[in-house]
């Protein structure tokens, strides 16, 4: 094999040997490429490396993984398609865009799956493995032929690539090599720096034997060589000049690093997609930072362990997704009741129940805020970018400690696997939890000495002499003594609720994107920010009077929303959760189930907030939001909002 790899040494790719004319170089501001395959063929690894290298070369990048729910679904099946989309640009890229311009497919069936859901632009260029066209199995040849026929509905440019044939010159099992060959193709098409790619391959296979690195690099070079001899086009997307130091990673990794930066030292979790990769990364590095990841026997135990740790010192955190969140409900109420600080990350996926485990959704909002039986006021916040995923646990940890409360962070599958460069954080001592107080508690101090105005009190931590008391999930008084009397329950409920108002008091109204007043205000939360703002840029260029605001806090809501809403003729949320369409059968103004944020905003502001929501198992496309804005613009005649 080593001998074979020298056959594709750089000399072979030397441009002097290329026979055809130099490729046409298309200069573009941005471009979107997808790599699709069967599961286990490494399309994601290929795309991650491509995205990271593009970021390192100074391009704006956003990647989205396309993941089936099974590990190895049947090969060559439309439903089992696995892949990754990478959008790169000259400026910052904030979302996955609309349609793919270049697709690389390891088989025609995965291509079909993307074609059928309209993921590919009409003029897309497609590079597809062609061994299926001449496969020994007649059924496969027939599938290929009918797929090509179906694909011919659109104006795609389809280029056949002998991926397997080429790879077999370097490896015995091409399933384990096509992805690096494809990386080579893309390196040529987008003129990526091969040295940086080699570096990134080395990083990706850090703990593997050297010969794996060498094999992958040989495949990379093979793909690059093939492309330079056979493809007659290249895309040039100039990079952005910046002096700022940048880092590039996905949202789950950013959260994990932010958690480390916050000084938290214990994470307890039970595996669940799409949250698990936070723990995978943490398990790798956390111990070096003095931290522990505890994989508990279930989600109830995970939150119990996190609460036990928080109770006895620094704030701890637990990581989950919807179904796990449901199991944690009782303990969440207990943490609120006992006022034990806790940070919970919910990486939302499609629901209800097991739902769409690998796909994005924003359907846990109301369950997060109201899902705990009894009145259990606590904080819910939502990062909108990968950078905010880093900072969320730092903010959450501080709020949890200061307000002795639960802080939930609602991320989602889009942020979890999305990769985006952002300014390198500069970790600060002030971000970190201080060492737990072990000083004696002053005589007469009480464990719930609520400040009547803010509801805040200081907690005592085991080890503090004189602070002995028993926290209890039962109703209790200032001494943490079980207390059933009516007056105490009213007072302690008020104190727990007051903390949210006190927190809101420290916040500013959310910034407006666009004009401060106008016809339509779009309100979003979480991962949809980039797509909403891109859509807004487009409709504003058309002359529409549309602005947006994006909420970082859902409980308590940021202040001033009612006043902001009053400056627009219509307010509408854009969300990735289900809502009835107004013209659906039986739907009336009264029974219409609206987007979850819309529901919340209507209740809190008494404004007739409309919504446009979709649950397609994919991030929102800016183009789709543009269409929604067109159909939801308030009619001019009606004057003031009703």
């Amino acid at each position: 094999m080593a001998a074979l790899s020298s056959a594709v040494s750089p000399e072979v790719r030397d441009s002097s040997r290329v026979k055809h004319a130099p490729p046409t170089v298309h200069r573009l501001d941005e471009h979107t490429v997808e790599i699709v395959s069967d599961s286990g063929e490494g399309a994601q690894k290929c795309g991650q490396i491509f995205g990271t290298v593009s970021a390192k070369m100074g391009n704006g990048v956003w990647t989205v993984e396309i993941i089936p729910a099974e590990i190895e679904p049947p090969a060559r099946s439309v439903a089992g398609t696995s892949g990754i989309r990478i959008r790169i640009g000259s400026g910052p890229i904030t979302n996955w865009g609309d349609e793919t311009k270049l697709a690389v497919a390891f088989n025609e069936q995965s291509l079909l799956s993307r074609h059928r859901i309209g993921a590919l632009a009409d003029d897309a260029t497609i590079l597809v493995e062609n061994r299926w066209a001449t496969h020994d199995d007649e059924a496969i040849r027939d599938q290929w032929a009918s797929a090509m026929e179906e694909l011919s509905e659109r104006n795609y440019t389809i280029i056949e690539v002998p991926m397997e044939e080429e790879c077999l010159t370097v490896v015995e099992n091409p399933r384990l090599g096509k992805n690096m060959f494809v990386l080579g193709l893309l390196a040529f098409v987008y003129d990526r720096d091969l040295d940086r790619i080699r570096e990134q391959i080395a990083f990706a296979f850090l703990n593997k034997p050297k010969k794996i690195y060498e094999r992958n690099v040989a495949l990379l070079e093979l793909g690059h060589g093939w492309a330079s001899e056979n493809l007659d086009f290249q895309y040039h997307i100039p990079s952005i000049e910046t002096d700022q130091e940048m880092v590039v990673m996905n949202g789950n990794q950013a959260f994990a690093m932010g958690a480390i930066a916050s000084g938290m030292e214990l994470a307890a979790m039970y595996p669940i997609t799409p949250a698990t990769s936070v723990s995978h990364y943490l398990c790798d590095v956390f111990e070096r930072f003095g931290g522990i990841v505890h994989q508990a026997e279930d989600e109830i135990a995970a939150i119990g362990v996190a609460i036990g740790a928080s109770y006895s010192g620094k704030v701890a955190f637990t990581i989950t997704s919807g179904p796990g969140m449901a199991l944690k409900t009782e303990f969440l109420g207990m943490a609120v009741m006992t006022e034990i600080p806790l940070v919970l990350l919910n990486v939302q996926r499609g629901g209800p129940s097991t739902g769409l485990p690998t796909k994005v959704e924003q359907s846990d909002l109301l369950a997060s805020i109201f899902g705990q039986p009894g009145d259990a006021p606590h904080v819910v916040m939502a990062p909108a970018t990968i950078e905010e995923c880093f900072h969320a646990p730092i903010t959450a940890r501080r709020i949890a400690e200061t307000f002795r409360t639960v802080v939930m962070i609602l991320s989602d599958a889009n942020l979890a696997t999305g990769v985006q460069p952002f300014p390198k954080p500069d970790p600060q001592v002030s971000w970190q939890a201080p060492m737990p107080d072990q000083a004696p508690v002053p005589e007469g101090a009480r464990p719930y000495d609520w400040d009547p105005e803010t509801g805040l009190s200081r907690r005592f931590i085991p080890g503090q002499p004189g602070g002995m008391h028993t926290v209890t999930s039962l109703a209790h008084d200032e001494d943490s003594h079980v207390a059933y009397d009516a007056e105490i329950n009213q007072r302690s409920s008020r104190m727990r609720s007051r903390k949210l108002a006190a927190l809101q008091h420290t916040m500013s109204p959310p910034p407006i994107y666009g004009e401060e007043s106008g016809d339509l205000l779009i309100v979003g939360w979480g991962s949809t920010k980039g797509a909403i703002q891109e859509a807004l840029d487009r409709v504003r260029a058309e002359g529409l009077s549309v602005s947006s605001t994006h909420l970082s806090f859902l409980s308590p809501l940021e202040p001033g929303l009612g006043e902001i809403f009053s400056r627009f003729r219509k307010v509408m949320t854009v969300e990735i959760n289900y809502s009835d369409e107004p013209d659906d059968p039986y739907i009336t103004e009264e029974n219409r189930r609206r987007g979850q944020l819309a529901w919340l905003l209507r209740a809190t502001t008494l404004v007739d907030v409309d919504c446009w929501t979709r649950v397609l198992g994919e991030p929102l496309r800016p183009g789709a939001i543009v269409e929604a804005i067109h159909t939801h613009m308030p009619t001019k005649k009606r004057g003031k909002r009703t």
Binding site: V247, E297, A316, T470
Partner: protein, 315 residues
């Protein structure tokens, strides 16, 4: 540190404790409840072992027995039904230096919390775990528990409990990595105390099932065991639980070597004979809290390392 606080520190180091130092709020169990004697024995143990109240945490679930921490003057955590062991695990992982006691009822431990019971046994984290087994749901007023004797009538199985009772000793001894399993009875204070002491001194997860009378709902259930000493067999061994004078009280005795797991399982699963004593102890088994110990960093150290980590992702 000022000399004055140094003095205070020195005093607190040397201090002798009395049982009264561990008394919490006024106890509200029913008159005659077996939980009283467990509370007294625990307070006595803490005093005699010189455990600082501020460095001791008593964790419980929900039930009559789970009010226990309120009646102690230590740090306490009266959590939610069935989940005490998860909270205790969190405390010990974060603060290995604290002494942790867990108190659970039979519904708490063997029914709603059964999953945690199994896993906590396997984790083998250093803590004392007391199962206050009155063989009934007390706080919710007489429902059948997993340990209710077959045929015993309750509000949920009024014609008698359908199934044979779950045997907590047999169950615990069946779990991989179980390191300490003992049984005692609240009406034999000397044995109770000696058992708590052995459990406290055990490095690992010390599981003690305490037979506990509930005069309100099951006044008859343990009558024979209490009144007829011969119904109870005392396990004897030099490495076992040895309370002075008991061998004179209990004529029904048997020698059992607590290092013999097979024998322990056999004795525990024998439904014909109730036994008190140490069934099994092995201090050589791996302890999760030991394996998970990390070196804590200062804020500056964390920043330095984090910057190195971030550099790996630099553009």
């Amino acid at each position: 540190m000022s000399t004055c606080s140094l003095l205070a520190l020195a005093q607190s180091e040397d201090r002798d404790y009395e049982r009264a130092d561990y008394e919490g709020v006024e106890v509200r169990w029913c008159p005659g409840c077996g939980d009283y004697s467990v509370l007294t024995a625990t307070q006595r143990l803490l005093a005699e072992e010189g455990l600082k109240p501020e460095e001791t945490v008593v964790v419980s679930g929900i039930g009559c027995s789970s009010r226990f921490p309120h009646y102690m003057n230590t740090y306490g955590f009266h959590g939610i039904h069935g989940r005490a062991l998860t909270l205790a695990t969190g405390v010990k992982l974060n603060r290995p230096e604290l002494s942790v006691f867990v108190v659970m009822g039979d519904g708490d431990c063997c029914s709603i919390g059964a999953g945690h019971w199994l896993h906590a046994t396997r984790y083998n984290i250093d803590m004392v775990v007391l199962l206050l087994d009155n063989e009934i749901y007390g706080l919710t007023k007489k429902q059948t528990s997993p340990t209710t004797p077959q045929g015993y009538k309750s509000n949920t199985q009024p014609r008698g409990s359908f199934l044979p009772a779950l045997n907590p000793l047999e169950a615990t001894l069946g779990i991989t990595n179980a390191s300490f399993v003992a049984q005692t009875a609240e009406w034999v204070p000397a044995h109770l105390y000696a058992t708590l002491q052995a459990a406290y001194r055990h490095k690992g997860f010390a599981f003690v099932r305490i037979l506990q009378r509930c005069p309100h709902f099951t006044p008859d259930i343990m009558n024979e065991l209490v009144t007829d000493r011969d119904q109870v067999q005392l396990l004897m061994h030099d490495d076992g639980i040895n309370a002075p004078g008991l061998d004179k009280v209990f004529e029904n005795r048997r020698v059992h070597d607590p290092s013999n797991l097979d024998a322990a399982r056999r004795l525990a699963s024998d439904s014909q004979q109730t036994r008190l004593g140490l069934f099994f102890r092995d201090e050589s088994l791996p302890r999760y809290d030991d394996l998970r110990r990390t070196t804590r960093l200062t804020a500056e150290e964390r920043i330095e390392l984090l910057n190195e980590e971030l550099a790996l992702y630099a553009v």
